[in-house]
Symmetry: C2
Subunit: 111 residues, 2 copies
Amino acid sequence: MQFDREFLTGNLTTLILALLGERPMYGYEMLQEAERRSDSQLRMKEGSLYPALHQMERGGLLVAEWREAPTGRSRKYYRLTARGRRAAASKRRQWETMAAAMRTILGDAGA
Amino acid sequence: MQFDREFLTGNLTTLILALLGERPMYGYEMLQEAERRSDSQLRMKEGSLYPALHQMERGGLLVAEWREAPTGRSRKYYRLTARGRRAAASKRRQWETMAAAMRTILGDAGA
DNA sequence: AACGTGTACCTTGTTCAGCAAAGTATGGAG
DNA sequence: CTCCATACTTTGCTGAACAAGGTACACGTT
């Protein structure tokens, strides 16, 4: 089951921070990883992802580095700064708080 | 812990449908209920709620009815239509799907 | 009577995230 | 030599939520 795009709104930054908290990745890889791990339910769009990465880089959460792939293609790898790691932890906590609150309401309203 | 408003984005309709799925309520009551049940974590704003209710009414998800409160004040009670009940079930399912997908990513990224 | 407070609803203007759509460029498969 | 997947980027738009303000009434206090 595919959900409306509105459900993703507000979670993009959280998602990016979570992925990069694991290991440095490049943009296109994040798109694929998110889709793969969620059984194709969670599809980030390029037009959302790349601007978000740039903004987060400007905000000092990420740093970028161009690396040569084995294939010869160039890839822009992003990794978290110290600030980014703090933000990742914060976003994760916030997401869990929000999810718990939502569940309370949804749960009360006879499943 | 209070979370950024962006985490609410996209969940307002879901929340309204869940509350009304339980019983008819008036707008101001929904604000209080959501806040009370979530330990003040989930605060809908009037400027978001009322326009959303109007839009959902136009969309045929809700019907409104003015009722006199014991105090003498007038309240506008909303209840779900059949269409609204279907939407409520759908939104709930979608939320759970999204939450599961998010949890997968957040979980993988070393807690 | 006048005032403040909590209830209850509504609207206008703004902002900002995410998206659609399009573009650039490269490597490999056929 | 063409097509497809990879990989990054940008411009312009849309739409949800919000801030801020407004209206009005009931009730308690002074």
